[in-house]
Amino acid sequence: MTVIKIDQVNLTYIKGGLSVNNLLEYPFDSQLIMRKRKSLKKELLKKEDLSEKHIAILGGSTTHDIKDMLELFLLNYGIRPVFFESEFGQYWHDAMFGNAELIALKPDVIYIHTSNRNIMKYPEPDQDSAAIDELLEQTYSHFEAMWERLSATYHCPIIQNNFEYPYYRLMGNQDASNIHGRVNFITRLNMKFYEYAQSHNNFFINDINYQSADYGLREWSDPFYWYMYKYALCIDAIPILAYNIANIIKSLFGKNKKAIALDLDNTLWGGVVGDDGVENLELGQETAIGQAYMEFQQYLKDKQKLGVLLNVISKNDYENAIAGLNHPQMILKPDDFTIIKANWDPKSLNLVQIAEELTLLPESFVFIDDNPAERELIRQQVSGVAVHELGKLENYIYTIDRAGYFETTVFSKDDLNRNTMYKENIKRTQLQSSFADYKDYLLSLRMRAEVKPFESIYMPRIAQLTNKSNQFNLTTRRYTQVELEQIAEDPDYIALYGKLEDCFGDNGIVAVVIGKIEGKSLDIILWLMSCRVLKRDMEFAMMDTLVEKSRALGIKTIKGYYYPTTKNGIVRDFYEKQGFTKISEDAAGNTVWELNIDTGYEAKNHVIKVNS
């Protein structure tokens, strides 16, 4: 970790917007941000496009600095938190018996900060295994009852700490395996927490067991902070804890990164392929350095399997880059990358082009390059990209890992297939260029869509889309899975998903529409589509079905709303293209549109077969 001497950090450095962000990016200097928190907060509040989220912190110990640090990291992610914080140790009471302030807050996320200080009873030496099982059950049900109550009352995601190990071991090493040991008891309790997480969609573990191990348990659990201030962890570790919570929250609200842009020379292999030749690259089991590059590639490949798109931006002749990627010891093959840019153009230009080709925003990228000059270029020229400070080769994996760019909360089938889907898209673009007439091209894709009311198996993906889509999104309303499930069951709503398949493969769920019935009229409160199916007439297939469903319910007019953001300019004329008439526009550019479906409606989709 780089330690910036505090005396050297003058205020002008802190005051620049860019630098504030840098200070809060991993690897950060915990001490510095704890000290500069007030001025950092002031700067961060100047950011545009902050989205407000209500966050309840239910603590089993002091949480004051945790809240302060969480606020900074969330602001840095574009989320302006409004907090509720329990009185000291009141987590259970507030959850079970309600608290007027908490209820009034209507939390979007609840974080429960408990620790092994909140375990009241441990196994006694004279207890038999049945008695210990019962104690385990009792301890667990205290928590489970609270989660059930919270989710029934607030219908929002819950983030729960697991337990860190105790800082002493009464039975020495056997404390881990003996049923009377506290390490054993905590391990079993944690397992029960994980089982609950596995069977509940909106419940997430904040793994302080791992964080404390990573930090050093003895330091983390220094009892000084408990005796003096009733903190369950040392104060210096609070930024690390808060960063982990912020990563879970930003992931829940669709602010994860989606892709990596990788350099080749001295990033994926040792040496410069153009100068040294493929045969002299350092890669493989023969040398320590070669092995480090191989493991790094394996890490990236494993990330790719989780849905992260890998791309190359290399200053090389294309043939040389491909020759390097075909090195027999490469773990990553040319096929593992979605897009490979190997040329002599500025990397900033290449990055923007890759983003466009993948219909992603540059802010969805992490840029990984061993060359500090290239990193600085991207930082200055392409805003929003996470520019990773790589550090030493042997630390590549761990620094990227701890940065939490891709923190997994919802893992859908879509994540598993993402690489294939983007690859198929590139093939479609190639096919398109062989057709003079665009409609002929669309017909050649032999598209089939399913446009139907929300189904429970698709809920995780629908929720993910409502939180991730920024560009093709008319109202940019975010929904949790629980809210969507309620809408699906409510007869006052028409809620449709759209799934699109073609001759190249299945795109999965790509469109979501929610309409609220108001008498004889339908208000479209949400309309979004994944940018990977732009210009395929899917929006017309959706509208046709929406109109059909509306007419069946006796609805005579449909109202559309467009709320501009910095990212959704591409749908400004959406309703106009759909044949709606503009009925109002305010100073901020918010527009309201209307379509009369009583007197007739002409279907607009002629290229996709729907629900057949």
């Binding site: 505090i6 704890m34 000290r35 001025s39 903190y231 104060i235």
Partner: protein, 80 residues
Amino acid sequence: MSRVEILEKVTVIFRDLFDDDRLDIDDTTSAEDIEEWDSLMHINLITAVQSEFNIRFSMDDIYKMKNVGAMIDIIQKLLD
């Protein structure tokens, strides 16, 4: 390290934490003199001072810190 040098560094910490570039402190300054110096801020002061001088206070030390002067005495003792 001299008391003057320590006071200089402690002053920077105070200015950062209270986000006030003109804040001046001396040996007699205590929680009564700065409105925002509550028990929560006290924890942050202690932590920042520990990190700055790379020292660790004992619980006993903290109970003896009635004002900035007492704090500097203890820092000096721990640095020796």
